[in-house]
């Protein structure tokens, strides 16, 4: 295989690596304070990255170690766009007095996790997949502990890295069992060797647990609330959407591609985990007062909904998964954008009571927050309704009607807690609401993009149709 073919197949990875290096050098070269310039540079480069890779590339490299499909190309672009939105809304936090001197680290670390996710989604073998997974996890721990002098942030980082190590170890164990029983690590060759022996089932469960940790599925979710609460809000946003989106896509493609013969086994596994995840996350979420902790449980339950698409196990399921991730990214980032803005103007308070009467003083932010919560709750005509509809439909087609029914019941609970925030903003009286403030330009641009996404992604049916056409290729 000649080098130019590798270049064209791995174009996205290579250009992202170049961006990473540029950011590293820029941080070294530019004189302090360089936070404004770095932000502009990072956002600009990501826009270039999206533009370069907007056309899907397909192909293999390194003898099937690296496989790029149209769908994985699209997922990479979506993840990049999500990262761009996170960079935009991190504005008010990273440019603060106490963190601006390390702004460069933020961009470099985040971009390296993104690179790791790129490898995760287009791995053709468990080896590359594992490398990608670790590249996506370890810098994240640094990011979680970014405000290292703040106790909660340090604690969150510790919890995250310890749990990540634990899950990685178990996953490696599972991968070794796979290698032992199949004699190969390549997804394409594995299928012939998989017969569903007890050892292989154990291996599959261990592999699933490793990704279940990233997706924070119950019972591998325990780190989530503590880490989400302690981490800087923008990092929480990143963790909750980008990291999850990549893991969900990788999980589904590996289960379908590599573990195809064991579909009976893993669909039962996912059915159980989905129901438990959604239910437990919901009943825990209703009692939360800290918004970041609350969003942690919300993101756990959203991950459960994403799993419904995995149950579909066909092209339609894949399309609905990617669509769900896209819609989830815009809605969740809108919520986090509002939370982070409010946090900066409110001495770091993120409890729900702080939002009482928020509508009176900040009608625009409340409006965006409301629509985003509606979308997360799945209220038509916002995009969240359609994305939920499609994942339900794909699980239903695969015959998992009981799971779909239980998930539907759970949406009612989730509506309740999403509406609690809306109620706080609009209805609960408060003599002393937060003062009126104006968010920074970047954050506003990010929120407007999210808002457009929430409203338009559902109404414009082309988005889903394009995805399902790509998935059926």
């Amino acid at each position: 295989m000649d080098i130019s073919a590798i270049f064209s197949t791995m174009q996205a990875e290579i250009s992202l690596a170049v961006i990473l290096i540029i950011m590293l050098l820029a941080d070294l070269i530019l004189k302090q304070p360089n936070h404004k310039a770095l932000q502009g540079l990072a956002c600009g480069l990501l826009v270039v990255q999206i533009a370069l890779n907007i056309v899907p590339v397909t192909g293999e490299a390194f003898g099937g170690m690296f496989v790029n499909t149209s769908m994985s190309s699209i997922v990479k672009t979506v993840l990049t766009a999500g990262t761009l939105l996170v960079f935009m809304q991190a504005d008010s936090w990273i440019n603060r007095e106490d963190s601006r001197h390390k702004a460069g680290e933020f961009y470099v670390l985040t971009l390296s996790t993104l690179l790791g996710m790129y490898y995760m989604v287009s791995a053709g073998s468990f080896l590359l997949f594992y490398v990608g997974l670790e590249l996506a996890s370890i810098p994240l721990a640094c990011l979680v502990a970014f405000d290292k002098y703040r106790r909660q942030s340090a604690e969150a980082g510790t919890k995250f890295i310890l749990n990540a190590m634990f899950s990685s170890a178990l996953m490696l164990y599972g991968l070794s069992l796979i290698y032992g029983t199949c004699g190969t690590m390549y997804f394409a060759d594995m299928t012939a060797m998989l017969t569903g022996t007890p050892l292989q089932i154990l291996a599959m469960v261990l592999f699933f647990a490793g990704l279940g940790f990233k997706l924070s599925l119950v019972p591998f979710h325990m780190w989530t609330p503590d880490t989400y609460q302690g981490a800087p809000t923008s990092i929480t946003a990143y963790l909750s959407v980008i990291s999850k989106g990549a893991a969900a896509f990788a999980l589904m493609s590996i289960l379908v591609k590599a573990f195809g013969p064991m579909i009976e086994n893993w669909s039962l596994l996912i059915a159980i985990v989905t129901v438990v995840t959604i239910t437990l996350a919901n009943i825990m979420a209703i009692l939360q007062h800290d918004l970041k902790r609350f969003m942690a449980y919300s993101s756990i339950s959203q991950a459960g909904y994403i799993m419904l698409a995995v149950l579909g196990a066909d092209g339609q399921g894949m399309a609905s998964l990617v669509y769900y991730v896209i819609v989830y990214i815009v809605a969740n980032l809108a919520v986090f954008g509002v939370i982070t803005t409010v946090e900066q103007h409110n001495n770091g308070r993120v409890d729900r009571e702080a939002y009482n009467g928020f509508y009176k003083t900040n009608p625009h932010l409340s409006f965006i927050m409301t629509l985003a919560l509606f979308s997360l709750g799945g209220i038509p005509p916002f995009a969240g309704f359609f994305s939920k509809f499609f994942v339900f439909a794909s699980a239903f087609h695969a015959g998992h009607w009981l799971v779909v029914f239980l998930a539907l019941v759970n949406t009612i609970i989730s509506l309740y807690y999403y509406l609690l925030i809306v109620k706080a903003m609009y209805i609960t009286p408060n003599d002393n609401p937060l003062p009126t403030f104006r968010s920074s330009g970047m954050t506003r641009a990010c929120l407007v993009i999210c808002l457009l996404g929430i409203v338009l992604l559902g109404i414009c049916s082309n988005v889903f149709n394009t995805l399902s056409n790509v998935a059926l290729l």
Binding site: L170, V205, P219, M222, D226, L268, I413, Y416, S461
Partner: protein, 630 residues
Amino acid sequence: MEYTILILALPVLSFLILGLAGMYMKHRVAGLIGTLSLTGVTFLSYLTAYEYFTAPRTAEGVFETLMPWNFQWLPFNTSLHIDMGILLDPISVMMLVVISTVSLMVHIYSFGYMKGEVGFQRYYAFLSLFSFSMLGLVLATNIFQMYVFWELVGVSSYLLIGFYYTKPEAIAASKKAFIVTRFADLGFLIGILIYGFYMGTFTFTPEQEQLMKCGMLLPLALGLMFIGGAGKSAMFPLHIWLPDAMEGPTPVSALIHAATMVVAGVYLVARMFPLFIGYAPETLHLVAYVGAFTAFYAASVACAQSDIKRVLAFSTISQIGFMMVALGVCTTADPHEGGLGYMAGMFHLFTHAMFKALLFLGAGCIIHAVHSNEMSTMGGLRKYMPITHITFLIACLAIAGIPPFSGFFSKDEILTACFQFSPVMGWIMTIIAGMTAFYMFRLYYGIFWGTENKELHKHHTPHESPLSMTFPLMVLAAITIVCGWILPFGHFISANGHAYDIHLNTQVAVTSIVVALIAIALATWMYARDKQPVADMLAKRFATLHRAAYKRFYMDEIWLFVTHKIIFRCISTPLAWFDRHVIDQFMNFMAWSTNASGEAAQPIQNGKIQSYTMWFLGGIIVLSIILLLN
């Protein structure tokens, strides 16, 4: 003809601008934005009509059906999908002309009529929204798109009827209109669902095998759709909302409740006409009977009303009945003659829109002058308001069916079609046409001649309206005078698409003119003079009948009885009890148990990393065991 998309884009744009930024604008600017966008729409509509009707016909001698835009919105499978697009065929192009003309006239007229009103910008925003919805309705490429815009039209009608939202009557009327039409639309929706489910498509022109799949259910689906049309077009017994809808501003009544929205039901039947005539002729004739009864009922009520807008409302109901009859009497017996009613119904829709808008706008001028809707405050207005008087008279002559005004030609075609269907129907409709002439001239004399309320007029002298209001009157009057004999309507629209030369049936024409003249003479004898002994004597002699007609034959009371006494008491109350005591309690229990389990689950999350990994490992073990045992 891709530019037709602008016909929809312009009004929606002006709605957004006026709706979002209207409150920061001066009245004049807001009105100008609305009017300019409608001027653009009108220009484009005329251009479309010109290009469409001058384009060469196809080999079969019909105008080609065009779809310059069609966008697949929600696909279900390869044949069943909801599209959004623009359909151009003779009737939709004709409707474009009608809607844009009347809407433009109303936009201009409202400058004068609504001058200084609070919420002037909001009014224009709603007018734009209505124009957009109505144009979208007629341009719909499939039945579902039509339904979407159908509901939008209903919403904008609701908003405009309730424009004076501080007036309790207006609020009640808007709610009534919305609920009654929505109730009827339920039938429409079920009809659409049956149509889509069994046929596997939402298009207006299904394939032969798709029709075969629907089979016996097609007449049912079409009948249910007609219920929706009957609601919107105020057919008996769903007509009760229209008279109350007159609480809205008068130009709105002219636009929505006389010329455009209320004929949506007629348009719907015309749109589905090939299916009606081919597969459900019985349903089509049912439409005719409903239309005929409605026409008669409304005409008799109109004879006894004293509020001028109510008279016009009932006359609208009656005239829409005429259109329904025209469509309903079509048969396949003789393709050319049997389809005459289709052309006649569409023709009447066209002419009626013009002269009825003229009547309503004239009524608006009168109300503007005397600040009341009641006929008792009027009388003798002809010397104060010459332009209104003449134009109103022209419209009255048109609706009464006197040549050479437009109404004569279209009504004559309808009557001819009726006589072809059955002589009984022909005579009934001729008599109703006579009643129309009678009550319209009763109205005319009551306003412009008759007993003048001198005391009131001395106190406040009525005056002619400003040019912005009289100009639309003159334009519409001009159209009413000429469009009957100048427009070769049959060349554009006919049941089978071929050019059709309108020729008057001498016998029918003479009969109807004679009947109309007798009715006008009767009205003149009874109402033109200062004192009206005959009318008073008749009202006293047939007091019960007069009172019943004045009360619209108690239809509202009957509906109230059915809803309040029967539905509310016998069905709703027990259901409410069940809801409150069984379902709510169950839901409360669910909510309580959810909360309680949340409380119970909290301790798991204890913050200790050791226990987290225990859960992690325990989870793996349990899941593995389940999978292994399975």
